[in-house]
């Protein structure tokens, strides 16, 4: 018996070895090395030179760093709740028992399939200052309340909302996750609430939402991790964070430092700050929601 256990353990290590190697080479090593680089002056062309806390001190005094950080957090504060609310509402609509539901589900899912580069180019055209199509559609409605559509791509106050609209358009992935969660809500619970005379809003508020709260938390955390790293779409749509650096995001500045200015040590320091922010926000949301998240069967 013991011999079998030993053989199995060996097999276990051998089968796991691609990942064990991959983990050390492509995850653990870069993670540790980037701490070291963050304390160095490093251009990749020459060996790193230890400079202590210089990179971190320079970051504190770097206006562009603060701009990029503020832009990213502000974008997250706008995009995360907007995406979450839209996804939950769509999932609830799609959970109704109506003919042709499979087709509707496909419709809302398809935008989330669009590759980032195509997404950026498509919306550059939709939001285009001169020939964009969104404002001519909105204006007849807005004109009635004496407003006109904003200059989405040219006005620093509207460039972030433009990106939020695009992210909401691509919310289909989260919709499917919520939908799967909704379908797991036991029907007896809903029926019991109905017997107690609960109306639709009460059923949603007191039964459905608590029951899918683990899914909401999961999507929130994935959303935080993804949103703080947002790169491709703003990089393509808004060169150098135009207009007025309003779309110059954290990951874009990090990329520029690393590959445009070859300040690899500086970029590594930014990378570690991002990692710590993600850890804090993830653990923070776990802690804050502890009392409000209900796990079935526990």
């Amino acid at each position: 018996m013991k011999k079998i256990g030993r053989r199995e353990a060996w097999a276990g290590y051998i089968f796991a070895s691609p990942w064990l190697i991959g983990f050390f080479v492509f995850m653990a090593y870069p993670l540790v090395a980037s701490i070291y680089f963050s304390f160095c002056d490093y251009s990749v062309l020459k060996p790193p030179v230890w400079v202590g806390l210089d990179n971190y001190k320079a970051l504190v005094n770097d206006d562009l760093f603060w701009t990029a950080l503020k832009n990213t957090l502000l974008y997250a504060i706008l995009a995360l709740p907007a995406g979450m609310a839209t996804a939950i509402i769509l999932a609830m609509l799609l959970n109704a028992k109506i003919k042709g539901m499979a087709v509707y589900r496909t419709f809302f899912f398809i935008p989330s399939l669009v590759p980032q580069v195509s997404l950026a180019i498509l919306w550059m055209w939709v939001l285009n200052g001169e020939h964009g199509v969104l404002n001519p559609i909105l204006n007849p409605i807005l004109n009635k309340i004496h407003l006109t559509g904003p200059n989405w791509m040219g006005d620093p106050n509207w460039s972030k909302p433009a990106l939020v609209i695009m992210s909401v358009w691509g919310v289909g992935n989260a919709v499917l996750i919520y939908l799967a969660g909704l379908q797991d809500v036991p029907t007896q619970l809903i029926e019991a609430a109905e017997l107690d005379g609960a109306n639709s809003w009460q059923k949603t508020r007191n039964v459905t939402i608590p029951m899918i709260s683990p899914v909401i938390l999961f999507n929130l955390i994935m959303g935080i991790i993804g949103t703080l790293q947002v790169f491709t779409v703003p990089y393509i749509m808004f060169p150098n964070g135009a207009p007025a650096r309003s779309t110059y995001f954290y990951a874009v500045y990090l990329y520029d430092n690393a590959f445009r200015y070859h300040k690899m040590g500086y970029a590594s320091a930014m990378g570690w700050i991002m990692f710590v922010m993600i850890l804090v926000l993830t653990l923070g949301s776990l802690r804050l929601t502890e009392k409000h998240v209900h796990y079935q069967g526990s």
Binding site: E8, A11, G12, Y13, F15, A16, P18, W19, L20, F23, V25, M27, Y29, P30, L31, A33, S34, F37, V44, L90, L93, L94, A96, I98, Y104, F107, F108, F109, P111, L113, V114, P115, Q116, V117, S118, A120, I121, E130, W169, I177, Y178, A180, G181, V215, F218, I225, Q229, T232, I236, P239, L254, Y255, A258, M264, A267, S268, G271, W272, M274, I278
Partner: protein
């Protein structure tokens, strides 16, 4: 009872209306993309908007494919498409091969430290790519791999947390009696993996293949960092380059090219819908 029934009908009607309106909103950008792609150039810029092209120029798609020449530093569409496909093939095969083997170990073999290793594996999903970017680049530069495809596909052959997790969840559901019987007959782990577990897991393997294809087809930052020569660019990179050179001019061709980058993904989705939805549900619920 009757009023309840009436309320339900009304509710259904409202839901249906909301779905129709929202569907139009969500699908509109695609319609606009295709309509623009079919227009003659001057009609893309008329104000008020000319919604329907005076004639449908399907040839625009052909022009977008043929556009480009070495002399302008932009290569024809099919060069980029071929590069993307080659890279996707290398990445997808590596992802499926390595992660299925690793997931077998995590789900069906017992070894000291396994659960700890799996916990750490899951935690790596939180590590943002930018924090790994610089040392990984330095490593590949040391190997003299910059400008080749290797930095983009070699790591795919060494496993990734997400795919390991997905496959492990699935492998665990295969009854242990099936493999125990083979073990007693003296079958090796490799044989059990190949002849019992893999054939029963085709759906899960397809999900992993699908997601890794989408990821590779979509990737922009990776190729942006590692590819130097125009001739080796992927579609994502080629399209961005074309846009940055000619943005604001021939929107009809740009929309045609974008549509052709999107199309393979959507076609793939239509053929694999059920798998897709299962895969996403697994990642969200069991997470």
């Amino acid at each position: 009872m009757k009023s309840q029934h009436k309320e339900n009908t009304l509710q259904k009607f409202l839901v249906q209306t909301a779905l129709v309106v929202l569907s139009i909103v969500f699908l509109f950008p695609f319609a606009w993309m295709i309509l623009t792609a079919l227009k003659p150039l001057d009609e893309t810029m008329t104000m008020p908007i000319k919604w329907i092209p005076s004639k449908f120029l399907w040839g625009n798609f052909l022009d977008a494919i043929k556009y480009g020449h070495e002399s302008v530093g932009y290569y024809p569409f099919l060069v980029y498409a071929r590069n993307s496909l080659v890279l996707c093939a290398l990445i997808v095969s590596g992802t499926v091969a390595s992660n299925s083997i690793v997931a077998y170990s995590f789900s069906r073999l017992r070894w000291p430290g396994r659960d700890l290793a799996f916990g750490i594996t899951l935690a790596t999903m939180m590590v943002p790519f930018p924090v790994l970017m610089v040392p990984t680049f330095a490593l590949f530069r040391h190997l003299d791999w910059i400008g080749t495809y290797r930095p983009l596909w070699v790591p795919a052959w060494f496993g990734s947390a997400f795919s390991i997790f997905l496959l492990r969840q699935f492998f665990r559901t295969i009854p242990f009696e099936l493999t125990e019987a083979a073990k007693i007959d003296g079958a090796s782990e490799w044989r059990i993996f190949r002849t019992i577990v893999l054939p029963l897991s085709k759906a899960a393997l397809a999900v992993v293949a699908l997601f890794s294809f989408m990821g590779a087809w979509n990737d922009f930052l990776g190729p942006l960092i590692y590819l130097l020569d125009q001739k080796t660019f992927t579609l994502s990179l080629g399209l961005q380059f074309y846009q940055s050179q000619n943005g604001g001019t021939s929107w009809n061709l740009l929309m045609a090219a974008s549509a052709m980058v999107i199309a393979p993904v959507i076609i793939l989705f239509f053929f694999t819908q059920r798998l897709f939805i299962q895969g996403i549900a697994i990642t969200g619920l069991k997470g």
